[in-house]
């Protein structure tokens, strides 16, 4: 865990960081966010003492870092910068092994680890180990920059706008890769960014800075739902509700345990179930519970026979682990007001409606 206590930095008469208190739990990705000059980078650099604090304390796993030799401290913290900073005179392999070499690790062990790490970011070790940085594309270089920071397996990672210099398409890809890596490694990460979309995507916690002060520190969803003041609201953007769609899973927005009918039920049964729940349509499932189709209330009331004889296709199906952005997008593209929600095997789990999504997002604003 990283704990900052009343952390302050002054440069002459300018206060760059002003009494910041913050707890970053183990395994969290904490994004420091704010306009340039807000103190976010200075705060991050005080953690590995690239900038010495003027006052205040920093604890890593309960240990006051003021008592630790700064060179040793930095070797125990991974560091990734926007300029990447791969050493052009060293091969990819030797770049990755910089910190293990400084720590005096066995060469065989560190080189084997370099190969493993390359494979983790989808760079074929046999091809890339002996290359020099100039022979890599920008995206490949940044991947190496990230795994270099992981080489000595530090529990904590500091990242200073690591994907800022990469073109938007590659940035998305690398962000996704990185999140996959993080899901596996569960490092405690402090990540500086000025990009709200990146923060919403990567963060488990967002810290918003302004003029050296930490003004809001919360989960991305809470920050988007309840910005503490107009500055935060402006910073996260007028489309913050749309941004939240990405954060909420279909499973959290759907009505679960919905009524259902099978092909062998009569239309009368279907009509009765719909009236009981106040619905205007009902999903028909297969023998084992997979969503197969639907019956409208007007058909159920006016026609005779079995459900199986009058079934219509579903307006759309979405998997429960998708986010609401996909759900809303599918509703718009299918012209539907609701979607059937299914799990990976196609079993019917519930439904989401436009009104339900609106109510869910609205509820947090009023709270």
């Amino acid at each position: 865990m990283i704990r900052l206590e009343r952390l302050t930095k002054t440069f002459g008469t300018v206060t760059a960081v002003d009494h910041v208190d913050m707890d970053v739990p183990d395994g969290a990705v904490c994004v420091l966010l704010g306009p340039s000059g807000c103190g976010k980078t200075t705060t991050m650099k005080m953690i590995n003492r690239l900038i010495p604090p003027t006052s205040g304390k920093i604890y890593l796993n309960g240990r006051d870092t003021a008592g630790v030799n700064e060179v040793e401290l930095r070797r125990s913290i991974g560091y990734v910068i926007q300029q990447i900073g791969l050493f052009p005179n060293k091969t990819v392999e030797d770049n990755i092994c910089v910190v293990p070499d400084l720590l005096g690790w066995d060469r065989k062990k560190s080189r084997a680890r370099a190969a493993d790490l390359l494979a983790m970011v989808n760079l074929e070790p046999a091809t890339f180990l002996k290359r020099y940085p100039k022979e890599l594309s920008g995206g490949q270089q940044q991947r190496v920059g990230v795994i270099r920071a992981l080489a000595a397996d530090p529990p904590v990672l500091l990242m200073d706008e690591p994907f800022g210099a990469i073109d938007p398409i590659n940035r998305e890809v690398i962000q996704d890769e990185f999140m996959k890596l993080q899901a596996e490694l569960k490092k405690t990460i402090v990540f500086v960014s000025h990009d709200i979309d990146e923060a919403v995507k990567m963060a488990s916690l967002i810290a918003i800075f302004r003029d050296g002060r930490l003004i809001q520190f919360d989960t991305p969803d809470m920050i988007l739902a309840n910005p503490i003041d107009s500055f935060v609201a402006d910073f996260v953007g007028g489309d913050r509700t749309l941004k939240r769609l990405r954060l909420v899973k279909v499973a959290d927005a759907m009505m679960s345990d919905p009524p259902r009918v099978t092909a062998e039920d009569s239309l009368d049964t279907a009509a009765a179930k719909m009236e009981e729940h106040g619905h205007i349509s009902i999903v028909m499932v297969g023998p084992r519970g997979r969503a197969r189709g639907m019956i409208r209330i007007e058909d159920a009331k006016t026609k005779k026979g079995l459900v199986g004889e009058h079934v219509e296709p579903l307006p759309g199906m979405i998997r429960v682990d998708n986010d609401l952005r996909n759900a809303v997008s599918m509703m718009f593209s299918h012209g539907a007001t609701w979607l059937a929600c299914v799990d990976d095997d196609g079993f019917y789990k519930g439904y989401v409606t436009q009104r339900g999504i609106t109510r869910l997002l609205g509820a947090n604003y009023r709270a």
Partner: protein
Amino acid sequence: METFHFILANLPVIWQRTVEHIMLVSVAVAVAIVTGVTIGILITQSKVAADRVLYVAAVIMTIPSIALFGLLIPVLSLIGQGIGYLPAVIALILYAQLPIIRNTYTAIMNVDPGLREAARGMGMTVLQRLRIVELPIALPVIVNGIRNAVVLNIAIAAVATYIGAGGLGTFISRGISQTDIRQLITGALAVSLLAIVADFALLALQRFLTSPGLRD
């Protein structure tokens, strides 16, 4: 033709003078590398110091070599070494400073600040950063400065014969005083040839020392 015969007849002497010349330049450049690279590294810490040091080194370069030899005579006479090997070496060391200091300083200052930041952030000490990052990257430019210094010194060492330091300049000075065109041409040819050979040898060394990751 006459010159050709002279060269053939005097090969052992020419060889001996060449060795003297090389020894003079080698010792001077070896010392100049140690002092020049050290000074070049140290002045990267202070812009003011860098400006002053580079200015002084540039001024030394403008002193005519014969005048510098002259200036050293009274000073070194105090320890009984007014003429001969020692003042020659000292003068050559001084002339070699500027290209070496300037190239070392410039090369290190030109190292990408992102690399320095990465090196610090990963926990390198100042000396480790210098050894692992800055010097290897600066090396091609530093060797280039050394090349300049060597070629310069080979030329200036030819003048050192006037203060009794020997070397290939002996043929030139005697050629002038005895109006002997054969000796004059022999000396001039040998000095030029030596400079060219040294230049190519150092160019090869520079290529060899440059990391493949830094080659164009």
